[in-house]
Amino acid sequence: MTHLFWLAARSAWNRRHTLGLIVFAIALSVALLMSIERLRADVRASFTQAVSGTDLIVGARSSPIQLVLYAVFRMGSVNQEIAWDSAEAIARHPAVAWAVPLALGDGHRGYPVLGAPATYFQHFRYGDRQPLRFDGGRPYAGVFEAVLGAEVAERLGYRLGQRIELAHGLDELAPVHAGKPFTVVGILARTGTPVDRTVHVSLEAIEAIHLDWQGGAPIPGLAIPPELVTKFDLRPKSVTAVLVGLKSRAQVFAMQRWVQAYTGEPLMAVLPGVALDELWQMLAVGERALLAVSALVAGVGLMGLVAVILAGLNERRRELAILRSVGAGPRRILLLLAIEGVGIIGLALLLGALLATLGVLLAGPWLAAHYGLWLTPGWPTAGQGLWLAAVAGVGVLASLWPAWRAYRMALSDGLTPHV
C-alpha cells in the first residue's frame, strides 16, 4: 500500500504545474465559500447582537421592522412620535423594571444623534448582555454635553472637551442647530453595534436645540442663546421610542397586550429578537444567492479537477501499462488515481481554509473601519465545516470518475496501450 502512495506522489509531482493550478483553483473557490459563510455568520451575529436585555421596544403603531430598524440601527425613519405622557405611563407600569425613552432625528456630520436620559448607559445591553463601557469621560449631566460612540470619535478625530454642533437631520447638508455647541464629556468603548456610530445627548438637549425651531427650520428673528435655555421647560413633549426592561421576562406578552390596548394613542410593542429575526429572513434571499454563487464556483473548480485528470489519462496509458506489467492490478490503478484525487482535494481544502483565514485577518480591519463589519478569525464555524465537508465529499466522488476510467482502460489495454 505505501508504495502506491509513494508512486502517486511521485507521479503527481511530475505533473505539479497542471495539478498545482487545479489545487489553486479549488482552493480559491473553497476560500470564497468559507469567507462568505464567515461573513454571513458574523453579519448575522453582529446584527442579532445589536441589542439584548431589552424586552420590548415601544413606538407609535406602524411596522415593527421599521421601528426596530430606526430605534436600534438608526436606519430609515419613523413618521409618528409618541407623547411624553404615554412614555411616562409605560415607565409607571408595575411590570416595568426600567424604561428608557429615545428621541431620534438629529445628526452630526452624518452620524445619528440619540437623545436619551443618562440611565440609557446603565440599562442598555448589547451582544451577550454586555453593558456599555466608557473609554474615557463620563455620562452627560448638563444640557450641552455629549457622549460619542467609538467610531464617531475615531473617524472624526474627537477627544474629550471637543466642541461640536448638531444638525437637524442625518444629511450632511441638513441645517445646523447653530449657536448651541455641545462639549464631548464621554467616549464609549467599541461595541461593534450601531452604538459606535451614535452621538448621545440628553432628552433635554434635544428640546433645547429645538426651542427656537419650528417645522424643521429656525424661527426667523428668534435665537435663544444657550445660557438662557434652562429658563424654559425642557421636559420633552414627545419621544421616538421607548426601550423597556421588565421585572420578569414572563410578563412580556402581557405587557405587549397592555401597550397595544393603551387608550391614550395607538402604540405598538415589539419584541426585538422576533423583529430582528423577521428582518434577517428578508435579507436571507441575498445571502442565499451569495452562497449559491460560491457553491457554483466550487463546482467549476471540481469540474476542472476532473477534466484535468481525465485529459491526462490518455497520456498516462503507458504509465498504467508499465504498472500492470510489474503486477499492479486494475484495482491498484483505481486506488492510485483515487489517492491522487483525494490528495489534491485535501491539499486544496487546506490551502483554501488558510487563504480564507488570511483573508479575514488582512481584510478584517478594513471591513471593520469601512462597513462596521466585525469578522472573527478562528476555527471554522459549523457552517464552514459543512461546506468543507460538502466540497470534500463531492471532490472525492468527482475524482473517482477518472479513477474508474483508468480502471476500465487498464482492463482493456492490458500490456499494450491502444494509443
Binding site: 508504495h3 508512486l7 511521485r10 507521479s11 509531482w13 511530475n14 503507458r318 504509465e319 501499462a321 508499465i322 504498472l323 500492470r324 506489467s325 510489474v326 503486477g327 499492479a328 492490478g329 486494475p330 484495482r331 491498484r332 492490458g414 500490456l415 499494450t416
Partner: protein, 233 residues
Amino acid sequence: MASGPLVEIAALRYAWPGQAECLAIDQLILAPGEAMFLHGPSGSGKSTLLGLIAGVHVASRGSVRVLGQPLEALSASARDRFRVDHIGIVFQQFNLLPYLDVMDNVLLPCRFSRLRRQRALSDAADLAQAAERLLAALDLEPALWRRRANALSVGQQQRVALARALIGRPELILADEPTSALDAARQEAFLGLLQRECAHAGAGLIFVSHDLRLAGHFNRREDLTRLNPLAQT
C-alpha cells in the same frame, strides 16, 4: 513447480469481448531456461498472446499454464501477483516511469512482489546493491543510476527496462519488440545482453519480433502466423 514446461499452451482460443475469435493455438511449449524467437508481424495476435501468457487476458477456451499453473484458474488479483512474481516484461519502448529515477524504476517489481524482493535480497546485501549489480552488468554507468528515466537515451532506457525485468530472478522474460527502437549496431548489442543475462539468471525468454533478421540469434524459432490460423496478415 520447477519440473515440467515453463509455458504450456494447449487448445487455446481467444476472442476480445464481443468480437470473433482472433487467436487459436493448439500447442506451444517453452522449456525452463529456453529462449524462443516468436516471429509475429502485426495482426498475427502477438500482443494478445503476450497478454495471455502474462495473465492480463484470460483464455476464452483452452489453457495457458506458466510453471504448471493454469492462469485461467486464478482470480484477477492472483494473476496480477503471479505476473509480478514470475514474469519480467520488456516493451518495445517507453518502458520506464518518467518521474522515477533509474534505480526506482528497476526496483519497481520488488515493491509489488515480496517474492521478487526476497530473491533479489538473497544474493545481495540490499535492494540497491541488487539493482546496481544488474545495471553494471548491462553496461549502465553509475552516473546514470540516479538520473530520471526520461533523461536517458532510448538504448539506455531499454537496458534499464531489462534490468527491471530481470531483478528478483523471475522464471520467464517476455520481450515485445524490445529492439525495434534501436539502430542495427545497438540491436545486436542489446540482443547479446538479453540472452546472456537470461541465461545467467536461468530465465526462459519469449522474444517477439516482426524482424526476421534477428531470428538467427535464436536456436528455437516459431512463426505465429503458422501457429495461429486465425492470424490476419
